[in-house]
Symmetry: C2
Subunit: 217 residues, 2 copies
């Protein structure tokens, strides 16, 4: 199965690209800029090589990556994710698309959840990509620790969406060491998962903790 | 310090009454019905006795319990919590009041967060009890397991509110074995914590798990 990590050059895309490659998926690093995608793909291969993996990581611009993939993960900063989805609508038709997007606003020292009128970022993306199968996952993964291939973690990943897409995405989540996928309901319950992220940030800031995620115990 | 557990005869009030007594607080079980409060207080004393504790647990109707306490926990079903707060407004003046309330609605098999126009149940309670110091905590505690005095758990409890009240409430939370209080920000961030509860329920239903709570890891 070919997974395009759109925005695979930054943030959560770094860890996803390398960890999904290790898990055995064909990974395509997507970026607005093909040269940047190439540079990062080579960098990921070098890191994987130092770990003993001879994996090849593909690269492409976001449009070409979307064409080539079976599943696309929108690892794109929230302020650009809707316009990117809009621009890739035709090439993402019929594909499974995963949204980790979390719309937030900051007031004083506190982050709040700031969902669009559709109810959640995931539902807005589904309304844009109405011919794709949209699921949501990876909202609560701390990007920096996830990108550190020496990091050890045990995190739960709530996944929302309709059954067929959700099953595929849960399998992808579970393929990554240290992650456990949990079925959190239909796509409309994404609002409950997206809003955990500002809570994690608020707690982390106040407790002086870093790289916080959640476990359901 | 005297803690009134209003609605201390049911749900989360059961575990709170016994566990706060063990932690060394003077506990008053409050109920609409004084006789019911008495009956439950005696029952809790019996359970504690079987565990080797000779603790006395006070009881009163909710109004008298509110008068007597330093801190009141509104362990009252969400559909009654606002009217109860309204009716106790005068006697809760100047006191610390803790809201574990979570307004939810169910659509199909999925629970959603259903906050009042104030933003969260906690903020609505604060708008009613404008002469009290309102904090929020205990939203994500699974009542049944918490009431089982043989249960072993390790759960995180986000606490929201203004500094002075929050510090007292965090100390109360931390006094209970197996709970860790985390500062989750001002009272307005209660919305982020309240909305975790329907997520926990949705995940628990679908995974066939019980008594789920959270840890920040």
């Amino acid at each position: 199965m070919k997974i395009a990590v759109l925005g695979g050059t930054g943030n959560i895309g770094v860890g996803l690209s390398m960890r999904l490659s290790i898990a055995g998926y064909d990974v395509i690093v997507g970026s607005r800029n093909k040269e940047k995608a190439k540079e990062k793909a080579r960098e990921y291969e070098t890191i994987l090589k130092s770990m003993g993996y001879e994996n090849e990581i593909e690269y492409a611009d976001n449009r070409r990556a979307s064409e080539l993939c079976d599943v696309a993960i929108l690892a794109i900063p929230c302020e650009h994710v809707f316009s990117t989805a809009e621009s890739l609508k035709d090439v993402l038709e019929g594909k499974i698309v995963v949204s980790p997007a979390v719309p937030m606003k900051k007031e004083g020292k506190t982050f709040y959840y700031s969902p669009p009128p559709e109810g959640s970022a995931a539902e807005k993306i589904a309304s844009i990509l109405h011919n794709s199968q949209v699921a949501s996952a990876f909202h609560t993964i701390p990007a920096k620790k996830f990108a550190d291939m020496k990091a050890v973690f045990s995190w739960d990943v709530p996944v929302c969406g309709e059954k067929s897409a959700k099953e595929v995405v849960m399998e992808i989540v579970n393929s990554i060491d240290g992650l456990r996928a949990l079925d959190a309901g239909p796509l409309s319950s994404s609002r409950l998962v997206e809003s955990v992220t500002p809570l994690l940030i608020n707690v982390a800031i106040r407790a002086g903790m870093r790289d916080l995620s959640i476990k359901f115990v």
